[in-house]
C-alpha cells in the first residue's frame, strides 16, 4: 500500500456486510472497532473465538481473504477488501 493512501477512510466487507476503517489498519482491529468480536469457531468444541494477541502469534483471528487463509491481525484493510469466515469443520469428530 502506498503510504499516501494510509489513513484514508475506506469500506470493506466481512461476511457480505459493509464496514468502514482507515486504510492500513489491520482487519482484526478494524472489525473489533466496529463491534465484530467473534471471527471463527474453535475446531474441537465449536466455541466462538476472536482476535486475542493481535501480533500474529496466537492464530485465533484466522479469516479468508481472496480465497486464502490469513490472520486478520496481519492483514491490512484496503478499499473493497472482502473478508469472510473460514469454513472450519469439526476436525476431531
Amino acid at each position: 500500500m502506498q503510504d499516501a493512501n494510509r489513513g484514508v477512510v475506506v469500506d470493506f466487507h466481512f461476511e457480505g456486510r459493509r464496514y468502514s476503517a482507515r486504510a492500513g489498519q489491520s482487519v482484526a482491529a478494524a472489525l473489533f472497532a466496529e463491534g465484530v468480536r467473534g471471527l471463527r469457531e474453535s475446531p474441537r468444541e465449536q466455541q466462538p473465538r476472536g482476535m486475542f494477541c493481535l501480533m500474529g502469534s496466537c492464530q485465533e483471528c484466522l479469516v479468508m481473504v481472496d480465497g486464502r487463509r490469513v490472520l486478520a491481525c496481519q492483514t491490512e484493510v484496503s478499499e473493497g477488501l472482502s473478508v469472510s469466515r473460514v469454513a472450519e469443520v469439526g476436525l476431531h469428530d
Binding site: 503510504d3 494510509r6 489513513g7 482507515r22 486504510a23 492500513g24 489498519q25 489491520s26 482491529a29 478494524a30 473489533f32 472497532a33 463491534g35 468480536r37 467473534g38 471471527l39 474453535s42 475446531p43 474441537r44 468444541e45 466455541q47 466462538p48 473465538r49 476472536g50 482476535m51 486475542f52 494477541c53 493481535l54 501480533m55 500474529g56 502469534s57 496466537c58 492464530q59 485465533e60 484466522l62 486464502r68 487463509r69 496481519q74 491490512e76
Partner: protein
Amino acid sequence: MTDYDLIVLGAGPAGVNAALAASAAGLRVALFDENRAAGGQVYRAPAFAGTTDDSAERQAGDALREALAKSRVSAFLGHQVWAVTADFQVDAVGPQGSLSCTSRALVVASGTTERVVPFEGWTTPGVIGLAAATILLKSQKVLPGKTTLVAGCGPLLAAVAAGTLKAGGELRGIVDVAGFGDWLRALPAMLARPDILRQGLAWAWAIRRSRTPLYARHTLVRVIPEGERLRAELAPCDRAGRALPGERKQVLVDCVAVGHGLTPATEITRLLHARHRYSRKAGGWVAITDDCGRTSRERLYVVGDAAGIAGAAAAAEHGTLAGLACARELGAAAGSLDPALGQAQRRHARAARFGHAMARLMALREGHVQGIAADTIICRCEDVTRGEIDAACDAGARDVNQLKAWTRCGMGPCQGRTCGDVAAELLATRLDVPREAVGIFSARTPLRPMTVGALTGAFVYADIPIPKAAPL
C-alpha cells in the same frame, strides 16, 4: 541466494541496534521482521500517518526507524521467517514471494509472547491480551472498548490503563494480582532509569486522577458474555494469584484486557539446539548466553527480551553489545570496538536493573496455575482443558512433549506459544518436580503456519519444466 555476514531476526530495539552496530563496523547485514515497519512491540509504528503522538515511545521508535533507513542494513520488513537451519540459512515469505539467504552469524531478537494464565471464559471474543490492547491504542488508534477492564500484573497494566484514558476510553477498573508492597519493592531498582520511572509515575498519576477503581491483590475469576458485553467477576487473591473466598465483584464492560507477564520467544534458539535454562525471573526458558548474547552454538546470538525479560531500554543496549561482539568475532575492526563495547555494557547494566525489577513483577507466580478450574481451556487451539492435562499426568505423562502427543495440547496452529508455559507449569506442579524436569515443547518449522501457495507463489502448470522421459 544472497550471502550476508550477519542476519538479524526481529526489528525491535534489540534487533535494529544489533544490525546497526554490526553494519557500522563493516559487516554486510540483513534484518528481517514480519511487521512492515521496524520498532517491535514497544516502539511499534502507527498503522497510518497523520496521527500525532508525543510519547517517548513514539519518539524512540521514530529515531530507531530513521537510523535504520539511513544505514546500509538490508531490511526485509513485512517478511515472515518460517525456517532457519543450523548453517544459518533463513527462509522467509514477503510481499514479493519467498526468499532465502545465508549468513556467517545469526542474531535472534524475536522478543516475547504474552502469558495469560487461563480463567473461565478467557477464550470469549472481546477478551484480549494486554499487549494486544497496547497495539490497538498505539498503532491502530482504536479503543479496546467504550468501557474496558484491565487485569493481570506488571507494567503493561499501567501502560494499557493510562493509554486507554489518554485515548478517551472509560476504564471500569484495574485488577492487579500484585499488591502495593510488590510495586514498592521494585522502586529502588527503578531508580536506575529515572526517565522511565518518570513515565511510570505519569501513568500512575493519570490513573489516580481518573478515579478508576483499583483492585490490588485481586484476580479475574470468570468472564461471561452478556449480550454484546462481558460480565467480569473479580475476587481477592493470595500472593500467587489464587482466588480467596470472599466478596466477588462484578463489572460489566465491552472489553477485558488481561496479561500475566511475558515469556521469551525461544523457538529459533530451541530449533537450533542452543542450550537453554529455566528462569522464572527471566520469564521462563531462555538460551544460556554470555553478557553479549552469545549462545552455546557458535556464532548464534540472542538479544533483548528473547534472551530473558529486561524491557525495551535494556534490549536496545543488549542489541548494540551483540552487534559489536559479532563484528569482532567475524574479524571486523577488532581493537577499535572496545570503547563502544564498554559503554554499551555499562548502559545495558543500568537499563537491565530497571527491566529485571519489572520482570520480577511479571514472573509466573508459584501456585498461580493451581487455581485454574478443571473445565477451563488451557490450549486454545485444540480446546484442551486443565482436567485433560491432569488426567494425562495421572496416566503417566512426565514431559510436555509426551503431554502434547497424548492430549494435542500445544499441537495446534499456535504451536504451543500461547499455552506452553502454563501447560508445563501445570504438569510440573502436579508431579511436584522442578520445571526443568518436564521440559519444553520441541520447536518445529515452519515457525508460523504457512500455506503452500504462499511458498510457491502464482504459477501456471505450463510453466513447470518437465524433463524428457528417460529412454526405455
